[in-house]
């Protein structure tokens, strides 16, 4: 019997609704440690029930930003608002946010139950309610059988679940997750990502995750802020950031990309034409954000999976053609990566999905190949 499909998932985009007030607001926040500026005049709005990711390399200020929200660091300048209330001066133990630590920070001298109940006891909740809540949390993370164990008697994955249950037990308004899955192996990490999303939907809380793993950020979150040197390089949904990167930094940090430098020769309605001296080709693509002027330096960015690779020359007059020789082939199972060396010496990557199980692939090393793509497959980046 086929059940009716569940409720249709509404498009969740509170950030597009001008009538909604942000739930968390970082307002011109700057944090300096001595000479080092960890967060630089940053303004960011996060909405209720949003799963928001701060993505960036280590040292980009993402963890500092989260620690300021938790109350472990104070902003040097600016302020942080939660649900309209200024958080400055409120110590961490009085903030309605809870954090799941990268190291999990489970209390080694307490049982799993004791760890989960810790925050509730601080609230002064009575014993029977604590027990009910702890049981609920154990069920949520599927650890009912491990209630009496000490943290060192658990595997890494189980510890991660205890840490999650402990940080959720107080039903905080916001849950902060600091690299929550960093210590897990790849398979477990992927499973846990989907579980995190389910839990977030079920409890209807606002989640803020800090991660350096772009796949993790793209999988779990509604929106991502890509950070670099204390500022936000771009905010958007996973697909906006991937398909419409605002800068070379974002394009390069999130996913794999081919970047070709050139100078603008023509500016059309939406399409911009570049002449790329290095590869001796003329490329047309959609313009990214910012004003484009003829003669400006610009970069053309295209994802490898959007480049088509072919042994046959395309008909004359086809725009966006590069030719070269197959330099390297990487077979990854689901896809194959072709690294094509152009006449000028630069390398362009093209990936092809391996849709059939044929053993012999038509394109091989040192073949002369043509790379083509439609005009809207790549973007022109000015920064």
């Amino acid at each position: 019997m086929i059940e009716a499909v569940g409720p249709i998932k509404r498009k969740f985009a509170p950030w597009d609704d001008p009538t909604l007030k942000p739930f968390i607001r970082f307002e011109n926040v700057t944090k300096r440690f001595g000479d080092f500026t960890a967060v630089d005049n940053l303004t960011l709005d996060i909405y209720e029930r949003e799963f928001f990711a701060l993505l960036g390399p280590s040292g980009c200020g993402k963890t500092t930003l989260m620690r300021m929200l938790a109350g472990f660091e104070q902003p040097t300048e600016g302020r942080i608002l939660l649900d309209g209330k200024d958080l400055s001066g409120i110590p961490p133990y009085k903030r309605p946010v809870n954090m799941m630590f990268q190291s999990y920070a489970l209390f080694p001298h307490m049982t799993v139950e004791g760890n989960i109940a810790f925050g509730l006891r601080q609230e002064g909740m009575d014993t029977s309610n604590i027990n009910t809540r702890v049981a609920e949390m154990l069920e949520l993370v599927k650890l009912e059988k491990f209630a009496k164990r000490k943290p060192h008697q658990l595997s890494g994955g189980q510890r991660q679940r205890v840490a999650l249950a402990r940080s959720l037990a107080k039903r905080p308004k916001v849950l902060l997750l600091d690299e929550p899955l960093g210590a897990l192996d790849k398979k477990l990490r992927e499973e846990t990502q989907f579980e995190l999303m389910d839990i977030q939907m079920e409890l209807g809380m606002t989640f803020l995750i800090v991660t350096h793993d772009q796949e993790e950020a793209m999988t779990v979150s509604d929106r991502i802020a890509v950070m670099n040197h204390g500022i936000i390089a771009q905010i958007g949904t996973a697909s906006e950031i991937y398909e419409q990167p605002a800068s070379r930094y974002v394009a390069d940090f999130v996913g794999d990309i081919n970047l070709i430098d050139g100078a603008v020769t023509a500016v059309g309605d939406r399409i911009v034409t570049l002449h790329c001296a290095g590869v001796d080709a003329t490329i047309s693509a959609e313009a990214g954000p910012g004003e484009v002027a003829v003669g400006a330096e610009a970069g053309f960015a295209i994802r490898p999976e959007k480049v088509q690779i072919s042994l046959e020359a395309p008909p004359a007059g086809t725009p966006n053609v590069l030719s070269g020789e197959v330099w390297d082939i990487g077979y990854l199972g689901d896809i194959s990566v072709y690294r094509v060396r152009l006449a000028g010496g630069s390398i362009v990557k093209a990936t092809v999905a391996n849709l059939t199980r044929i053993v012999e692939r038509p394109i091989t090393w040192e073949d002369k190949v043509y790379l083509t793509w439609p005009a809207d497959a790549g973007v022109i980046l000015l920064k």
């Binding site: 109350g71 133990y93 809870n98 954090m99 990268q102 920070a105 489970l106 209390f107 008697q153």
Partner: protein
């Protein structure tokens, strides 16, 4: 390299241990001597231990020593733990290097200097020399040892545990007692035991600061020896050695056992997964 023991290794081991323990062994053996002459073996006897129990002066001195030890070790543990916390927590403050140097200086300071300076202080402020003067002097002597032991334990403590407690709504002071203290307790207890044994066998500092009615056991033994060594002294010394040995062994077992247990449990988890 040859892993089996060579003659050289065995010889150095034997000589080294002989150097360390033969004098103590002789003292212990002669404490069970039936003869009154210290250097002549007259058969096995426990009579000197029996005599000891009936010597009120020695019992009094032992009682003073134990009380001084317990009180000064407790003071030293509180102060030493506080110093260790400050040194571990506040990585950057003006004069940190000076402060940490000053905490550890008594470790290498000649006891005569410590004793003399405390004596001068007590005289200057008009503090009566006696029981409490010895307690304060021993606290000064031993708190740096406690600080060292506790600090080595604090280094291994994950700071995020305390942050997690704060994050879950626990105020800082309560966090110290619920999270920090239980986790550094083996270090604190080991520090206390070390302080206690140090106080127990100190002669120099105690003799500078003692007064009437505050004769500690080492002072008593020292004054008895001046009149000649008796088997009774051997007996009391044997008891002192045993107490100190038990204290030191217990302290090291305490600090090792928790570590070993933790590793064992972690191995078990690793194997079952």
């Amino acid at each position: 390299m040859n892993k089996s023991t060579s003659w050289f290794n065995i010889t150095s081991l034997v000589v080294g241990f002989a150097f360390l323990y033969v004098p103590i062994l002789i003292l212990v053996v002669y404490s069970f001597n039936a003869s009154k002459l210290v250097t002549v073996w007259g058969g096995f006897s426990t009579q000197w231990y029996v005599e000891l129990v009936h010597d009120q002066a020695i019992i009094d001195a032992a009682w003073v020593t134990i009380r001084v030890g317990i009180i000064s070790a407790s003071f030293a543990t509180v102060l030493g733990t506080m110093a260790a916390l400050v040194l571990d927590r506040y990585r950057k403050f003006h004069g940190r290097a000076l402060f940490s140097g000053m905490v550890y200086a008594p470790l290498v300071m000649p006891e005569v200097i410590t004793g003399l300076s405390l004596l001068l202080l007590f005289v200057a402020i008009g503090f009566d020399r006696g029981f409490w003067a010895v307690v304060i002097a021993h606290t000064t002597l031993t708190m740096c040892f406690v600080a060292v032991v506790v600090q080595s334990r604090l280094v291994t403590l994950d700071r995020s545990l305390e942050e997690a407690a704060l994050d879950l709504g626990c105020p800082p002071v309560k966090t110290f007692f619920l999270i920090t203290l239980p986790l550094i307790l083996p270090g604190v207890v080991a520090g206390w035991m070390l302080a206690f044994t140090l106080s127990l066998d100190d002669l120099v500092i105690a003799s500078f600061n003692t007064g009437p009615g505050a004769t500690t056991l080492p002072i008593k033994i020292y004054s008895m020896v001046r009149l000649g060594v008796t088997p009774e002294i051997n007996a009391i010394s044997t008891i002192l050695i045993s107490v100190i040995a038990v204290g030191v062994i217990a302290a090291s077992v305490l600090s090792h056992r928790s570590q070993v247990e933790k590793e064992k449990a972690e191995r078990a988890v690793f194997l079952t997964n």
